[in-house]
């Protein structure tokens, strides 16, 4: 029996220690409280068996045997043979002190063989691994044994990895720019598109035809392109601005426009056959203030357009002149303005080609203007080469010919006794002088000329002396007849537009005379108390004519109503000193224009009394047409002739 004891001394060397040792042990482990004082003092446990000294000295022999002290010594087993418990004599005395399981395998065992195989492969891999990796992999796969799945011990093992957190990533591009488009498809838009298509097709056809002129087209196209890309161009509103000017004028002069159209002087009924002139628009141009009106002419085609020639009758002072066109629709500003070097003395608008105007100048030039062309220069102007006159040109006339493309005649009346027949071709506006009629009388100063409307070759010439000659183009050297018309220069000679035999003349000797060209003496003579500037037949009646005098009055006569007096005498100018120079009736409207020497043109409306047509008898239709007018005139003349015959 061993007791647990604290051994503070050197540990026991062997088991062969004697009892002394025990004692020593016991002694050693004696006194506890003396530990400090005696380091080697014996300590005694508290429960040590206390023996006497005798007992202590007793020697007890201990035998060391190989017996397992822990092995049981008295195991009894039941023996079935003897039917009793018998003590086993031999007990296993092995005591296992330490067990360590080793990892050694018998080399012939299965497992060892397997391991060996694996080891060999692994060894080879390691040896050859450094040389060729892919080869080694291949070799590995070749030598790999087929996987053995264990049917019995197969276990499935699964593990779930962490799911990565889902993250959504999206990308949005910028939306394309949007613009709202809207359009309408009306009938007219469809029509426009069709028209464009048509035009394109026509252009293509033209292109195919005109291949050699391609280059010109391209050049013109380039020019067109340049023009179009000029941006904000006002010229695009050119037409509209013109219309607007007229509209603005119409608004301002609204009452005049209304009068022009609709006003009929009701008081004419009470006026006993006299009439009045209602002043309408007044036309003036700033730059022409110092010039006087020397010629007036209405345009036949556009009856609101008239031409005014400006110049000067003061023969000592001659300056510049002007050719101005006005329209009734715009009284504030002229439509066309042509400044000229010398004063205009006469002008005439072609009756059919109303864009051609012939103008005669004070310096003897003759010019033809074309309104359709842009530019301020005439298309033709006579120069010294082409037979310019040396004296002022008093009368110009553009005649029609039946052939449109043929040359048109223009007849000029210069102051000198020459009459030129000038052929003007409309296409080229070249002027050739063809045939000169020479009036043989040397002292003749021709001032006025008028051609008969129906009888082409017959014309009248008024002179500065006061005589009127009837001439024919065929007889170039002689006059057919001469009338001693006036005592002073003849200012105007005009054939009656209806009656083929009647003409009228006026002069500065204060008289207006009406003639029958077959009779040498005037049919009617009127004294107007002032020099008569101009006289004009009315286009609507064969018996109505108007005259203007230098005291600023307009006299209107209707021979049908009153053979001796004017039915209207009215002063139309503000200042008394202005002289009226010209008068013209409008072909369709009941207005007259009067030009004066201050450059003003005044338009006046004829009151109903001045425009009378013959009254229809009850039951009869109102006869119309020029025949009626002729008949009217004829009646008058016959009345005159009879008393004369009677008198003679």
């Amino acid at each position: 029996m061993r007791k647990g004891s604290n051994v503070q001394k050197v540990p026991k060397p062997t088991k062969a220690s004697s009892k002394k040792k025990d004692e020593e042990e016991g002694v050693d482990t004696g006194d506890g409280w003396d530990e400090w004082s005696h380091g080697k003092a014996l300590t005694k446990p508290a429960d040590q068996l206390e023996l006497t000294e005798a007992e202590l000295k007793e020697e007890i022999t201990r035998i060391l045997t190989a017996n397992n002290p822990h092995a049981p010594q008295n195991i009894v087993r039941y023996s079935f043979k003897e039917r009793s418990y018998k003590p086993t004599s031999v007990v296993d005395q092995m005591a296992v002190h330490f067990v360590l399981e080793g990892s050694l395998l018998h080399q012939d065992s299965d497992e060892a063989r397997r391991l060996r195989a694996k080891e060999e492969d692994g060894g080879e891999v390691e040896e050859a691994g450094e040389e060729d990796r892919p080869d080694s992999v291949a070799s590995k796969t070749d030598k790999k044994e087929p996987k053995l799945t264990n049917q019995f011990n197969f276990s499935e093992r699964a593990s779930q990895t962490l799911n990565n957190p889902l993250r959504e990533r999206s990308c949005q591009t910028e939306p394309p720019p949007r613009s709202i488009f809207s359009a309408t498809a009306n009938q007219w838009e469809i029509y426009d598109v069709y028209v464009e298509e048509l035009q394109k097709q026509e252009k293509n056809k033209e292109k195919q035809k005109a291949i050699p002129s391609k280059k010109d087209n391209e050049k013109s196209k380039k020019k067109m392109m340049l023009m179009e890309t000029q941006g904000d161009d006002f010229t695009k509103v050119g037409k509209a601005s013109k219309i607007f000017e007229r509209m603005v004028n119409q608004n301002t002069f609204d009452d005049i426009a209304q009068d022009f159209k609709y006003f009929e002087d009701a008081s004419d009924e009470f006026r006993d056959q006299e009439g009045t002139l209602l002043p309408l628009w007044k036309f003036q141009y700033d730059k022409a203030k110092r010039l006087s009106v020397t010629a007036l002419c209405w345009n036949n085609k556009y009856q609101d357009l008239f031409a005014v020639g400006m110049g000067s009758y003061d023969f000592s002072k001659q300056g510049r002149g002007m050719l101005v066109f006005y329209s009734l629709k715009n009284s504030a500003f002229p439509e066309y303005i042509y400044p000229t070097n010398s004063g205009v003395l006469c002008l005439h608008i072609h009756e059919q080609h109303s864009h051609l105007i012939a103008v005669g100048f004070y310096d003897g030039c003759v010019a033809v203007y074309n309104l359709k062309e842009e530019g301020l220069e005439p298309v033709y102007k006579s120069t010294a080469k082409t037979g310019k006159h040396t004296d002022p040109v008093w009368q110009v006339r553009l005649e029609n010919k039946t052939e449109m493309m043929g040359p048109h005649r223009m007849c000029l009346v210069p102051a000198t006794p020459l009459l030129h027949n000038c052929f003007v071709s409309i296409c080229t506006i070249k002027c050739k002088f063809n045939g000169m009629l020479d009036a043989s009388c040397p002292q003749l100063v021709v001032q006025r000329l008028t051609f008969h409307k129906q009888i082409d070759y017959l014309f009248l010439v008024g002179t500065e002396e006061g005589k009127i000659h009837k001439c024919s183009k065929t007889y170039s050297s002689q006059f057919l007849e001469t009338y001693n018309a006036h005592s002073m220069a003849v200012d105007a000679v005009k054939w009656n537009p209806f009656h083929p035999k009647v003409f009228i003349s006026c002069s500065s000797d204060w008289t207006v005379k009406i003639w029958d060209h077959t009779i040498n003496t005037p049919m009617f003579t009127f004294d107007l108390n002032a020099a008569v500037g101009d006289v004009s037949w009315s286009p609507y009646s064969s018996t109505v004519f108007a005259a203007v005098t230098t005291d600023g009055t307009v006299h209107v006569f209707d021979l049908n109503i009153n053979k001796y007096e004017a039915i209207c005498q009215q002063s139309v100018v503000a200042k008394k000193k202005t002289k009226l120079t010209h008068i013209e009736f409008n072909p369709i409207y009941p207005i007259i224009i009067v030009g004066d020497d201050r450059g003003y043109v005044t338009s006046l409306k004829l009151s109903p009394n001045l425009r009378k047509k013959p009254k229809a008898k009850k039951g009869q239709e109102l006869p119309k047409g020029p025949e009626v007018e002729i008949a009217k005139m004829e009646k008058l003349l016959s009345l005159l002739r009879e008393p004369e015959q009677n008198a003679v």
């Binding site: 509103v237 050119g238 509209a240 603005v248 301002t252």
Partner: protein, 96 residues
């Protein structure tokens, strides 16, 4: 170009005319003698009206076209003409 300019000047100088506006194809007044805000207002409003009037005229007869639209009001008269995509506006007081 100069002729149109002269004509516009004459219109502006005419008796009773309050103002003129020339509007280009984009609706911007390019020439006016009124103040800008008024001009822009007139241009914007009259543009639509003119288009509508033109549409009306042409719907009735596609071969016809609008030349001038005249609006007579108590105080004055507005005249509008579309041409070549441009718009010409004149305001006149005819009673002066």
């Amino acid at each position: 170009m100069a002729e149109v300019e002269e004509t516009l000047k004459r219109i502006e100088a005419h008796k009773g005319v309050i103002g003129t506006i020339v509007v280009n194809a984009e609706g911007i007044p390019i020439r006016t003698n009124l103040d800008n805000s008024t001009a822009v207002q007139y241009a914007g409003l009259l543009r639509h009206l003119t288009m509508l009037a033109r549409s009306t005229v042409r719907d009735i007869d596609p071969q016809n076209d609008l030349i001038v639209l005249r609006i007579r009001t108590k105080k004055y008269e507005i005249m509008v003409a579309p041409e070549n995509g441009f718009l010409l506006i004149v305001i006149q007081n005819p009673c002066e």
